[in-house]
């Protein structure tokens, strides 16, 4: 049986030369993503904005959105969004946070239940009050920051500071681009999005660490090799693994995306973008070439210290 070889054994692609294109492109994309965040914004879900989300399924095979909208708009609950969600009789109702504190949110739900009556099944009701939403957002931001710092400290101990810094730049790049993606697509940004961002972080680092591991090994073995050549060799040697792993992760994610249903759709879509598109690109075209600028292996302290250790 002939086995599948996606990447030929002797690839010698010059990844490092490509940095003259990849760095400006990444910088541009990052600026674009940041401006998207500020000018287009994220579609904050109720987790962070507060408010009510109700998923209903109408008894009729197709939900009459116009009729439901008319019934709900008469309630005086401010802006109410109705959206078809998956099947034609599934409707997602979003109600903005009501003024008047925690109890007002509960009254809004009671009013909606009264207006829609028994014509629909309530598949999901989520109410997040103003106090909880504020806390969830700060937890999310703190969590993301905390994760980056913990991982950096670990990398700093295991490698040299140049690697930790390189990984951090790559990290922030990943997160910034993914946030840009979330802004363009206006995917609901909620607690699961924070989970997606953290997983992207973990995966992307996983990939970066595998390549860095190889670079460290090469640094010890070939002390005279020019840095760009050494980095190129390392990336090329691990390329087959990177590709195969990303194919398997993509296969798993593809299954979740196609068959996982609406509830985790935004989660898997974000992961697909972050892990498969950005994460791989970052570890090959950003995290590795950036080590040239951070002074790895040029007789600098990174090299001398690693060789002392070994």
């Amino acid at each position: 049986m002939r086995l599948l070889r996606i990447v030929p054994d002797d690839t010698k692609f010059d990844f490092m030369r490509f940095r003259r294109i990849s760095f400006p492109v990444s910088a541009l994309m990052s600026i674009l993503a940041i401006s998207l965040y500020f000018f287009h914004g994220l579609n904050f879900g109720i987790d962070f904005k507060g408010g009510t989300l109700i998923e209903v399924q109408s008894q009729a095979p197709t939900a009459d959105l116009a009729k439901m909208r008319a019934a709900l708009n008469g309630l005086g609950l401010g802006e109410i969004q109705l959206q078809q969600f998956g099947a034609p009789n599934d409707v997602l109702i979003r109600i903005a946070e009501q003024p008047g504190g925690e109890a007002a949110q509960q009254q809004a739900v009671a009013k909606v239940r009264g207006a829609l009556g028994n014509e629909v099944n309530y598949r999901r009701v989520e109410v997040v009050g103003p106090r909880v939403s504020g806390e969830l957002l700060s937890y999310g931001v703190v969590g993301l920051g905390l994760a980056i710092i913990c991982i950096l400290i670990y990398l700093w101990f295991r490698f040299e500071w140049q690697f930790a810094l390189g990984a951090m730049i790559a990290n922030v790049h990943d997160i910034v681009l993914t946030i840009g993606f979330m802004s363009i697509t206006q995917i609901d940004f909620d607690l699961t999005s924070i989970a997606a961002l953290l997983t992207i972080l973990g995966y992307s680092l996983n990939d970066t660490v595998v390549i860095y591991d190889r670079i460290r090994e090469m640094l010890r073995r070939y002390k005279k090799m020019a840095t760009p050549d050494l980095l190129n060799a390392s990336v090329n040697q691990t390329l087959s693994r990177s590709v195969i792993t990303h194919v398997t992760v993509s296969l798993a994610l593809l299954a979740l995306l196609l068959f996982g249903g609406q509830a985790i759709h935004s989660f898997t879509a974000t992961m697909m973008f972050g892990v498969v598109l950005v994460g791989t690109y970052t570890s090959v075209f950003i995290a590795s070439p950036i080590l040239i600028y951070l002074g790895v292996g040029r007789g600098g302290d990174a090299l001398t210290r690693t060789s002392e250790k070994s």
Partner: protein
């Protein structure tokens, strides 16, 4: 790397086998498992997003606690000064303090000494913190100010949460729900999770009521209509009836008997009118107080007040000496039931506010399980086929290792009685990706070592030893992300962190032991001349 002592190999296989065994109860019908010993019955709990149910986060109203504490202090001040026969004016609650002005000519020092006695050390007399519940200060003009300290409020909120948990537990259990989860969260919150509950409206109604029941006299000396326009006598409250139309009543502040003296309450029907009613029974001291009060006030109306609403205000026809009675007040069968339940469970020390609610209907839960299953199967098949195509026989080894890995994840989840959520299923699918990656790392390294000119056994050995260091590094970084997620996340997100974290641990275990063991046995058996990858 490829040599295993016999006991080591046995230990590895045994560990994997035992951990996998713990997953077994999840796949057997409940009635089989029930006859097993308790420790063997552990299984994965489905999260509310999968089995349906309600998640409600309640918060103790700390402002209400503060207000109550201040009013209590004001009453204490009044009592102390009266007992000491000290004249005073202007006893008021202002902001966070109670202020009182001692009249000229009274013994100010004696009054101050008495008031200082109200300030108690927190945490009882054995407390060593030196914190007190009240700060007593004086100002010119014989003004004494008693300020409630922040630690006192924190302590009182803590006590309220503890008492409330018990009462919430009793109320929820009375609803006849299956396996509700009630736990404290943070300083002032209570989490209630009720699996299988479709419509939490009734639960919310029951949790939202303080259920503070008082028996008080109606003040008939001033007509309520007159009090509405003019001043309300200082010893009275103006309360409204609970039923429509809202009728105002002037009710004395003094409580004859409170709900705390009830021993039982049951819904029933009035024998004459067959209206729904609630019958109740007092404990001994309650019965004595009630008997005395009704004896003294025959012919006058008294009021049954629930959460500052008058349920009914009947006239006392004869002394009630038996210690039991009934409340009638335009109830429906449901509301009579609920009131009896609330009275049996007791009153909350402070009102609870619902600050978060998430309810998933059973239909959605089942859909999610079905979708989770399909996507897991499809994902698994695609990955298995891809690995076979890429690595042939070694791909088969990898697939076996990953299958055992997934079984072990379920085993550990069962052992921990962990909760499986929909994002948790996503976590397992992703773990499959990571687990495959560890094999890919090893195999790619072996391929390289072969290209570097090593003999097959040498190459395999070197491949393992070099790849494992990388596997450890890369998995620890992902594990840190999972740990942070677990720490900050709640509900479904935490479920994701749990499966991801456990998955990483089992992945590292299988990569370091099982995969190596399988390959080692194969090498010993076939003595390969070339590596088939």
């Amino acid at each position: 790397m490829l040599y295993f002592t016999r006991w080591k190999a046995t230990a590895i296989i045994l560990t994997a086998f035992v951990v996998c065994l713990f997953a077994v109860p999840n796949f057997l019908p409940d009635r089989w498992v029930q006859s097993w010993p308790k420790w063997a019955q552990r299984h994965v709990v489905l999260g509310l997003d999968l089995q349906g149910g309600s998640h409600i986060l309640l918060e103790v109203d700390s402002n209400a606690v503060r207000k109550e504490k201040l009013e209590q202090t004001r009453d204490d001040v009044r009592r102390v000064l009266r007992d000491a026969r000290v004249g005073y004016t202007g006893l008021v609650v202002r902001g966070n303090s109670v202020e009182v002005r001692i009249r000229e000519g009274s013994n100010f020092d004696q009054a101050l000494a008495k008031l200082r006695e109200l300030s108690q050390p927190l945490g009882g007399i054995l407390s060593t913190t030196g914190q007190r519940n009240l700060d007593v200060t004086t100002e010119q003009g014989n003004l004494v100010r008693l300020t409630l300290t922040d630690p006192a409020i924190v302590e009182r909120v803590r006590q309220s949460v503890e008492q409330s948990i018990n009462i919430v537990e009793r109320r929820v259990n009375e609803l006849g729900t299956v396996e509700p989860l009630i736990q404290r969260q943070g300083a002032d919150r209570i989490l209630v999770q009720v699996p299988g509950l479709q419509d939490p409206t009734r639960l919310k109604e029951i949790l939202g009521k303080t259920a503070k029941l008082d028996f008080r006299m109606v003040d008939s000396s001033v007509p309520a209509e007159q009090a509405l326009q003019g001043r309300i006598p200082s010893e009275d409250d103006l309360l409204y009836s609970s039923s429509q139309p809202k009728t105002p009543y002037l009710i004395e502040k003094r409580v004859l008997v409170s709900g705390g003296d009830l021993t039982d309450a049951q819904p029933g029907f009035d024998q004459r009118t067959s209206e729904p009613i609630v019958t109740f029974r007092f404990n001994t001291s309650g019965a004595r107080k009630f008997a005395q009060a009704t004896q003294e006030n025959v012919g006058k109306p008294f009021a049954i007040v629930l959460d500052n609403e008058v349920i009914s205000a009947p006239v006392i026809r004869e002394p009630i000496l038996g210690g039991s009675g009934q409340i009638s007040g335009s109830f429906t069968v449901q509301s009579a039931n609920d009131l009896a339940l609330l009275l049996r469970a007791g009153a909350l020390p402070a009102p609870l506010t619902i600050i978060e609610e998430r309810t998933v209907g059973p239909g959605l839960g089942q859909d999610s399980i079905a979708k989770g299953k399909i996507s897991s199967y499809v994902g698994a098949v695609m990955v298995i086929v891809f690995m076979l195509a890429t690595y042939g026989l070694f791909g088969l080894f990898a697939n076996i290792a990953v299958a055992i890995n997934v079984a072990m994840i379920f085993g550990v989840l069962s052992l921990l009685n962990a909760t499986l959520t929909l994002p948790g299923i996503a976590g397992i699918v992703l773990t499959v990706g990571i687990a495959v990656d560890s094999n890919v790392l090893i195999y790619e390294r072996i391929r390289e070592e072969v290209r570097g000119g090593r003999t097959p056994i040498n190459a395999i050995d070197a491949g393992f030893s070099r790849a494992l260091a990388t596997i450890l590094d890369s998995n620890i970084t992902t594990f840190i992300a999972a740990a942070v997620l677990f720490y900050i996340g709640t509900g479904p997100v935490r479920g994701f962190a749990v499966t991801l974290g456990i998955g990483i641990i089992t992945t590292v275990f299988t990569a370091f032991t099982l995969t190596r063991l399988i390959v080692a046995y194969w090498v010993r058996w076939r003595r390969p001349q070339r590596v088939p990858i």
